[in-house]
Amino acid sequence: MPSVSKPAARRASFRWLDRSFAVAGGMAALVSFGLFAWLIRDLVRLGMPRISWEFLTAEVADAGRSGGIGPVLVSSVLILVCCLGLAIPLGTGCALWLAEYARRGSVPARLVTGGVDLLASVPSIVFGLFGMVFFGQTLRMGFSILSGGLTLACMILPMLVRTTLSALEALPADLRPAAAGLGMTRSTTIAKVLLPAALPGIVIGVTLGIGRALSETAALIFTSGYSTRWPETLSDSGRALSVHIYDLALNVANGGPMASSSALVLLALILVVNSAAVTLSERWLLKRHQTS
């Protein structure tokens, strides 16, 4: 029988390499977790004392040094709603066109994907300036929740297009001939077969988008503005949570503690959205592959 074993010395060095890889990986994981834990600990330590129902619902007082973040939370949610209201249909539609209608590699398809990818690499401050000029001035929306939400929609659009597109492209290729062979129209195939099958992927894209939108500051300063009043309509200016934190930390003397509390709320919000989305899409996946 031919010997397949390597010389003992070489094997020993491989074993050493193996072990050091495991140790290095473990260290990196530990550092990553440590940073996260430290951040949370600090935020909780500095921000937790002021968190209360009162803080979440009261008006902003004394430039943010006292009172609560009620109007800011409401504005944030409204901005998010405007953002998703535009970005989800636009992103899904664009991805559907690319995946189902455009010819792979054709000039229009390449232009659209190229444009979307370029959009993804634009810094958010540029989106802010664009939003101010286009939505604020050209479309006369001024500093408003609508203007901020639409600007954010442009910003998260590439993410939605990309995730939806990959979800659609990852579907089994034989679903389309299966549907066609049953005499189904393309629109029924898309609406009743392809989109439901791609839904978990789309939800993940939307979640990433929500996370990005909630934490965005630069794109909102010039578009939805600073106002801390309770928003009454979408054309009112409204301050997003991230802008509030930025303002407290930078422009308001002794605003630090309130900034920490607001940051804690923002973090909790993002965590809730993320875990809800992950749970939902896992449940869908599970349901789809459920055995008896």
Binding site: P172, M184, Q290
Partner: protein, 278 residues
């Protein structure tokens, strides 16, 4: 579940692929069919009558155009960019399959297809029937009965009746293929095309599906592509042997299965069917 008896729009005495039983009428009449993909000729000049209510097996080595032939029978070739089909295909009621303005969606309801790999929708078993049946105008109330009928017909009802709301994906390969056959049957087609329906299945499941196809004989017209010559011998009434000639797929032999398998006229077909070649 029946190909309604119909008066033929073409004279019945036109010479055609000699029917096995003598009295079978043509359900599909294919004349001079040529299929090209961007200039490459996959299939050249096929003329054959497919007898109603019987099983026609298409055999031959890979790449000889059997699947192209099958897919042109219900216009699935439309899905392939750059695919050009010339010649004509008529259904017994006079519908011209190849007509540019043919109602392709209705046609595919009448000429169903089952693929090599089972391809259920990744949704519940029930939805797999609801989606296509609703598309073809069935009312919601009629769907459960229809679903039960065809699931019983494919012998799947007892296995799945208590989990119709669960995902179809969880079924085994053989069950999935029977589900896909049931889904095709649900639309009450006159013809079902089978594109190597057993070749992705284990031998046991393959046997079950083969028996099922055989049991459909007489209820509708069946065209089956198979690489399994023994299977073709067992179930086919008619056989057509495809072969590559001059760089294009063509039909070198067709007729009653018994004759084609026992004494093929074409030398290539003879070697292939005897297992000496291919």
């Amino acid at each position: 579940m029946n190909a309604p008896s119909i008066s033929l729009p073409f004279p019945a005495d036109v010479p055609a692929g000699s029917p096995a039983t003598g009295d079978a009428t043509a359900c599909l009449r294919v004349t001079g069919l040529t299929v090209q993909y961007r200039g490459f000729t996959a299939l050249r000049d096929i003329t054959i009558d497919i007898p109603e209510g019987e099983i026609t097996a298409l055999v031959g080595p890979s790449g000889c155009g059997k699947s192209s032939f099958l897919h042109s029978l219900n216009r699935l070739t439309d899905l392939v960019p750059g695919c050009r089909v010339t010649g004509s295909i008529h259904l017994a009621d006079g519908t011209e399959v190849t007509h540019p303005k043919a109602d392709v969606l209705t046609l595919r309801g009448r000429v169903g297809i089952v693929f090599q790999r089972p391809n259920p929708f990744p949704q519940s078993i029930r939805r797999n029937f609801e989606i296509p049946l609703r598309e073809h105008g069935w009312s919601k109330e009629d769907i459960p009965d229809r679903m039960e009928t065809v699931l019983r017909q494919v012998g799947l009802w007892n296995e799945v009746h208590d989990r119709l709301h669960k995902s179809a994906i969880a079924l085994s390969g053989g069950q999935l293929q029977r589900l896909c056959i049931a889904r095709a049957l649900a639309l009450e087609p006159a013809v079902i095309l089978f594109d190597e329906p057993c070749s992705a299945l284990d031998p046991l499941a393959s046997g079950v599906v083969e028996d099922l196809i055989h049991s459909l004989r007489g209820q509708l017209t069946i065209v089956i592509v198979t690489h399994n010559l023994a299977q073709a011998r067992r179930i086919a009434d008619h056989a057509a042997v495809f072969w590559v000639r001059d760089g294009a797929g063509t039909m070198v032999e067709h007729g009653p299965a018994a004759r084609v398998f026992s004494s093929p006229a074409d030398p290539d077909a003879g070697l292939y069917l005897s297992g000496a070649r291919g």
